[in-house]
Amino acid sequence: MAILEVHNIEKHFGATRVLEDISFSLEKGQALAIIGSSGSGKTTLLRCLNFLETPNHGSISVNGNVIFDANDPITQRESEVRKKRLHFGLVFQSFNLFPQYTALKNVTLAKELLSQELPEYKQNKKAILEEIQAEGRELLKKMGLSDRADHYPSQLSGGQQQRVAIARALALKPDILCFDEPTSALDPELTGEVLKVIRGLAEQKTTMIIVTHEMAFARDVADEVIFMDGGVIVEKGPARQVIEHPQEERTRQFLSRYAEN
């Protein structure tokens, strides 16, 4: 069974239709890349999955459970939404690290706050917090940032900041990790280190949705690719097929513009 099913999602901002009839599914352990030009609705789609935007139509299911249905207001209650968000992790284009916390605290903060809701928190506070710390350090180590745990974001390079942000998203063990153009804000020489980390996650069968402009990366790392244009899915299929042998004319045009660059 698919881990994620998106049915007929639509999103309008006033009269502008940003997403129209978006449907797709994702299997556990797979990586899906979404490509398309700016303004094609890719980012809005990710934001809908993370409940940062509310679709006007459609439904979203995770592990067979409907977590969002535009026709069912109960699924949109704030208290419900907060828990359901945790199915997803989101890595932002502009990192959005918390500047007043060290790299480690950025990774552990959300988990510490969530653990306060555990019934055994009061008795085991120290042990729980120590475990969260240890997990946070382990994640930073995985990102190659062991020696940067106590640095503040402003003391880190863009690539390092984005890797902290990935660790932060992983800390809550989301079912599906979303990346919104994770390397677009980076200098070209820093994109490699971030792409390498994402590649490593794909090798460990992390379920991921990656909005990206890195075509070669999408081809090599993703299992499936979706090409979006004007708020609709124009083409979807196995990564290599969509990027090397696109079936649709619009996909071909888009990819040829990239090839020229």
Binding site: R82, F92, N96, A110, R168, A169
Partner: protein, 228 residues
Amino acid sequence: MEFFTSDTFRTVLTALNTGFLKTLQLFFITLLGALPLGLIISFGSMSRFTPLRWLTRTVVWVIRGTPLVLQIIALFYVPGMQKWFNWPSGESGRMLAVCVAFVINYACYFSEIYRGGIQGVPKGQQEAGLVLGMTKLQIFRHITLLQMIKRIVPPMSNEIITLVKDTSLARVIALQEVIWMGESFMKGNSGIAGLTWPLFFTAVYYLVFSGIVTMLLGKLERKLSFFQ
């Protein structure tokens, strides 16, 4: 040298000290009341509930758009004249009325500084908190608050320094703060009259006190420079 040991000097100094204590009292009560009240007002002026937002912004406009002196006079005299209620008699009643006027006035100024500080925190910070499953209150407490404080320290320092000197407006309803005391030796107080230096000497109090406040706020600003 003889002057500084004279009885006159000692009498004046004691009176100015008493007056300045009242100045300090007004200063700290205003801060204590206006700092939290300003935050509440700023939430009102950012509310998504339009009537509340307009009501709050109108109040802020009126308070910031009229002189504090006028507000003190109105708040002190109008309730009694209209037979709504009477302030307690004597110096304590004057102090109470002045404190209420100052707290409301400064809360309105602070609220706009808070609003700027909160709205200046990038939206991505809140979104990052939301996708990590934090509640709105947790986001405010653990993410927005400190970033806001860092942003507002410089404009807040300005207002607080102004407050040090604005406390002298309380003399308009004869609260016996330091300027009132200084002036009293021109008119006659404790058998001393016709002295002008005590009035000008009050400047020393203000200078020393605003110097200390500036230093402390500078310290806070440096303390918050550990992040950007």
